[in-house]
């Protein structure tokens, strides 16, 4: 196994003293994965020439091609749940900081062509497809055929699979079938609401949730790992055609696996089916993961995501479009912005924690939203504010600072209004749509500033805090 021998000292703040990671029992070997990729990205940012499989990049398979920093797009548009934040966490830990957060509009406008990698995580596949539409599907196909790398996890994995269903029929990029598809449902023993999804006249059913065991096939680039665990939350088990490489099969279950159906039926459904596949399309590639390889509690799986990124990212260098509207915020202006954001996010967070104790839910589309989901987005911001505060200047688009504060105020206002109405036993459904839409935009905008600023500091050689 390729594991960096670099010492654990001198880790970026994302890794050292990271309470959550300590709490979930990461071993030194696990931390070394993150450190290895962080080291690669840090060196690349400083202009150091690295090659696959050598020196700091010894964690990757050998290849004489020089490494470069990948520009990665993270899809955050309609239909996504909150698991794209898991990709964000992974990228943050590994110092992949050239990130772009995309809505469906941005995909349709052709932003994909500036990227090396595009990732779609979990959510509602049909809504994602609907949101992207024909134009988005065309842009995605063009991106991949032009050499880009697509990584789809869970809903993102279903998206390009062969399908005649409305909206999904615009994709159909790979000849891979869904193995957990049936006209009738098996007997469900627990968590009925999570056991199946309607799929036209059929059902996609889910025999298990939580950790499953996977076995890799030794195919590149997953050559460094023989077996691993990753969590399954409604993602596909697949049957591949000749055009695809199987990277991993479902091998079995763990003590943490939750069986929604009879165990032997679950075994029959999953074991031996494809959990991860790689398919070439034009000059590019697609990686489809049934389980969430990007989940922050699974370092081995995260390592494979990073390997895939470096291995199959677009090979041609893209010149970053210079942005006339970009500014650097420093000194007192930066301090004020941080304080303003902190104030509003803290206020919002306080209300949202209180809402978690109240039995309130909202339905948006066909999905149920609970108060805890509000805080998922707020925490993604909150835990990075202090780091941003300690970094050098902020790099952001002109007007983004005002927009950030305005959005944060809006979220706080809606939340307080919600709480007030709940106290008066009034309905809050009409506020929910605005709230979650604002939350998503706020999180996207904040994270864009965060990663742009971090990338700027990495490049300038500023101290990694």
């Amino acid at each position: 196994m390729f594991v960096s021998n670099a010492p654990l000292s001198g880790l970026p703040a994302q890794l050292s003293g990271y309470g959550q990671m300590a709490g979930i029992g990461f071993k030194n070997a696990d931390m070394n994965f993150y450190h290895s990729y962080a080291s690669i990205n840090q060196n690349l940012a400083w202009g150091v020439n690295l090659h696959y499989g050598e020196d700091e990049a010894s964690i990757l398979p050998r290849d004489p091609i020089p490494l470069r920093i990948p520009r990665i797009g993270v899809y955050t548009g309609s239909g996504t749940s909150h698991s794209w934040l898991w990709f964000v966490e992974l990228f943050d830990r590994m110092l992949f900081h050239d990130l772009v957060f995309l809505t469906e509009d941005m995909v349709r406008e052709g932003v994909l062509q500036d990227l090396d990698v595009f990732v779609i995580s979990g959510g509602d596949t049909i809504r994602i497809a609907e949101g992207l539409g024909c134009e988005g599907a065309g842009e995605l196909e063009s991106f991949i055929r032009g050499g880009g790398l697509y990584i789809g996890s869970c809903a993102g994995a279903y998206l390009p699979l062969k399908s005649s269903k409305q909206y999904l029929d615009r994709f159909n990029f790979v000849d891979i079938k869904i193995a957990n598809l049936s006209k009738t449902l098996p007997e469900v023993k627990r968590l009925h609401s999570k056991a199946s999804t309607a799929y036209g006249c059929d059902f996609v059913y889910h025999p298990v949730r939580e950790d499953v065991r996977l076995r890799t096939t030794g195919k590149k680039p997953f050559t460094s790992v023989e077996s691993l665990c990753a969590p399954l939350y409604g993602g596909p088990s697949m049957v591949t055609g000749r055009d695809s490489d199987v990277l991993a099969y479902y091998q079995g279950f763990t003590e943490k696996t939750i069986f929604l159906v009879d165990e032997s039926f679950a075994e029959k459904t999953l074991v031996g089916k494809v959990a991860a596949a790689r398919t070439a399309m034009g000059d590019g590639h697609l990686y489809l993961f049934g389980p969430h390889f990007e989940h922050p509690h699974f370092p081995m799986a995260n390592h494979l995501v990073a390997t895939a990124i470096f291995w199959d990212m677009k090979r041609e260098r893209i010149n970053r479009k210079s942005s006339d509207g970009e500014i650097i915020l420093e000194g007192a202006a930066k301090k004020k912005l941080v304080l303003d954001i902190k104030r509003e996010i803290s206020n919002a967070r306080i209300v949202s924690v209180g809402l978690e104790a109240i039995p309130v839910k909202w339905i948006i589309g066909c999905k149920t939203y609970e108060p805890e989901k509000i805080r998922v987005f707020l925490e993604a911001i909150w835990k990075r504010i202090n780091r941003l505060e300690r970094s050098g200047g902020f790099r952001l688009q002109k007007g983004a600072d005002e927009q950030l504060v305005a959005l944060a105020c809006q979220v706080r206002q809606i939340l307080r209004e919600m709480k007030s109405r709940i106290d008066d036993r009034l309905d809050t459904q009409d506020l929910a749509g605005d709230l979650f839409s604002s939350l998503r935009r706020l999180t996207m905008l904040f994270l864009q500033v965060y990663f742009d600023s971090y990338a700027c500091n990495l490049e300038s050689g500023s101290e990694i805090l």
Binding site: G19, C154, S193, S196, P296, V353, C366, K373, E379
Partner: protein
């Protein structure tokens, strides 16, 4: 095995909440705790304890125990909209369900820290 709370013996001191937070975060903090003292009815002196389990919320009220199934589809929502099954629902990773402090040498810390023995570990 599961955690049981006697709400009438409970004195609302929050030691259990802090102990659980310590188990989650290796520091003193309350935000990740899966056992929470419900204390928003201060003027009414109405308080109880909520324990988040894998599939349910156990609410120990003074008048009795209530168990709410997490994620179960209800008859109808207030807005009248139909809710589909949500197989893609993912955990929030904020307040994780009670794991009986697995991996901790103390066993369930809430049981151990409660000064009035209102919390017990039962089959």
């Amino acid at each position: 095995m599961r955690i049981d709370v006697d709400a009438l013996t409970c004195i609302g001191c929050m030691a259990c909440e802090m102990a659980c937070g310590y188990h989650r975060d290796d520091a003193f903090a309350l935000l990740s705790s899966c056992i929470v003292v419900y204390r928003t009815r201060e003027k009414k002196d109405y308080f109880g304890v909520v324990v988040k389990e894998e599939e349910s919320l156990k609410i120990a009220r003074p008048e009795g125990l209530e168990i709410k199934r997490i994620g179960v589809t209800e008859e109808s929502s207030d807005s009248g909209q139909k809710k589909e099954a949500d197989a893609s629902a993912k955990p929030m990773l904020l307040r994780e369900p009670c794991d009986l402090c697995s991996g901790m040498k103390y066993g369930p810390m809430c049981v151990k820290i409660c000064p009035v023995n209102a919390i017990s570990l039962v089959e």
